[in-house]
Symmetry: C2
DNA sequence: ATGAAAGCGCTAACAT
DNA sequence: ATGTTAGCGCTTTCAT
């Protein structure tokens, strides 16, 4: 910047004013400075700008998600970006890959870079260590998974209610032997879904036909479902707690002697749409939008106590839960 | 930091040394300083750190993709993160949403924040304006789409060759009436695919049965394909140039009077796997890995002239291109 | 409408 | 093993 100032025969402060479109600059000086900026390839150093400037926000928010490759979260991020862009804020995204250690390291980096705010899908169980980060002035909103003893806003879907919605739907279709295929309930949302599943059955005076929580991926779900369908009596309906398992469960059902076993899944996906799988859907974009709005309300100076927003889920009947089967025929080997 | 120094009765430089794990510090001082850091909730200001430090890299790279919600790019990003994390670098991701203006704004921000390097999937046609950014010291590698007159490395897939691979496969199955369903060839990769398609047919002395470049999404692809299949003569095979169109094309074929029309698509997807759609696949993770390795080689001081790496594609026969049809039956309405 | 001086929070260089 | 001084690139404050 000093070089530009010298070359244009003005002070550094004047260059600074031109860079930031300060209105009261003579056209002559402005154009001279701009010419030198172009000629010398000057780019302001954001670190220096944000170091000196303390009143205004830096104009950037961070989003930390547990898994960026999951379409659910990339949809959420995209909605956040939309809100953020509308307010001329930059959105920077990072992914912890469900690793609490990486999450902590990334949050530290994002806070140290003094972003104005953070939206966090946490893979961690504890959040006490983030208190000092809040004190530094970085605002936070948790999304999809709640904070543990940290006074921040959060936006969650009604996971338990959603699972109950699925069970109630199957009960109305006459099913009484309903199985659960999901992954380990270490994650908060998975626990909520399993709990809603059990509660809804109990409310109807029923026990689960069976509960498998070892379906870590689609292949494991295929195996687990195939084993369930080989039992006597077999379940007449399966509820699966996340969209990554749908292809496995659907394939197991399609290849079994009872291809009309009902299936309802939690969360929507392209696959579920194409296969005609009935789902209980959250709206990831709405989740992101609401989280971003909460964050910006805080940046605008809202100091009320932390809020918790719960978003309802929607049942989308597509055939697999209504006696029409899944639109998948076994492939030749 | 001054507060911590005062509280621990040491100089600020000593605090700095403790923060950065400088080895020659007495245990007594170290623990006193650490205690005060915790008590006061001190967090170093990354802007100040990166402002003063000019020798070492800041430890962060940026990734700018055109569409984060596209599983192809999120896979690429995830591979980049893996390489980057192994080198203890932070990865920050931003999405331009295929908007050249947003791309320019985001690149400016990323360069101003003085990240060490950038991997860019560009939605822009021109890149001259990035020359000053290169001069500032931010290294860049382009991925998936080539730079236009900018001396930077890039990693691309063999789009034209891949499309030719698909056509050759269909020709070997005896098809002579092959149609193209894709989107507007404004994007470099789409142009390359269409060109490979035409070239491969021409090499066999054939004309395309027809070329539709108005399939902007799955619904448009459904309509376009349905119209093609109603022609007389109808194509016996369809090539579609991107995975977002597969569901539409497959549905049109399944619901047509000729459900055995062959289908080969460019790029793999969950959907293609489940439906048994034959595809020509790029490897998005490999694309990301190679781009990250090029970038880190530059950060390690490689000053050789810009390289261009072309990655081969792979044909994955799954039935839809080999006379077995698509595993999709029309859903009841 | 423009400039000079001070300082943001931190680290490099050079002490001791 | 620890402290002192200067200054990174910019903006603030106060001049003029």
């Amino acid at each position: 910047m000093r070089d530009v100032a010298t070359a244009a025969s003005v002070s550094v402060k004047t260059v600074s004013r031109v860079v930031h479109n300060y209105p009261f600059i003579s056209d002559d000086v402005r154009s001279r400075v701009q010419a030198e900026i172009r000629r010398l390839g000057f780019r302001p150093n954001g670190n220096a700008v944000n170091l000196r400037r303390t009143d205004r926000p830096a104009g950037g928010i961070g989003v930390l998600v547990a898994d960026l490759a999951d379409p659910f979260y990339s949809g959420m991020v995209s909605a956040i970006e939309q809100v953020s862009t509308a307010r001329s804020f930059t959105t920077l995204v990072a992914s912890s890959d469900e690793d609490p250690d990486r999450e902590r390291a990334l949050l530290t980096t994002l806070v140290e870079r003094r972003l104005d705010g953070l939206i966090v899908v946490s893979a961690d169980r504890r959040h006490d260590h983030l208190r000092p980060d809040l004190d530094v002035g970085t605002r936070m909103v948790f999304a999809d998974r709640p904070p543990n003893r940290l006074p921040v806003d959060c936006v969650l879907a009604a996971h338990a209610d959603g699972a109950a919605q699925a069970v109630d739907h199957l009960l109305r279709q006459g099913h009484r032997a309903i199985a659960y295929v999901g992954h380990s309930p270490a994650i908060h949302t998975a626990r909520q879904r399993l709990s809603g599943f059990r509660t809804a059955l109990a409310a109807a005076g029923l026990e689960p036909h069976s509960v498998r929580t070892d379906a870590t991926d689609a292949d494991a779900a295929l195996t687990a479902t195939a084993e369930l369908l080989a039992l006597n009596p077999a379940p007449t309906a399966v509820f699966t707690d996340n969209p990554r398992l749908v292809s496995g469960v659907a394939q197991a059902i399609a290849e079994s002697p009872t291809p009309n076993t009902a299936l309802v899944a939690f969360d929507d996906s392209d696959l579920a749409r194409v296969l005609g799988v009935t789902v209980v859907a959250q709206d990831p974009r709405e989740l992101g939008r609401r989280a971003a709005e909460l964050l910006f309300a805080r940046l605008d100076g809202d100091h009320s106590r932390p809020r918790r927003i719960i978003l309802p889920t929607t049942l989308l009947p597509r055939g697999s839960g209504e006696g029409l089967g899944v639109a998948l025929r076994p492939r030749p080997r």
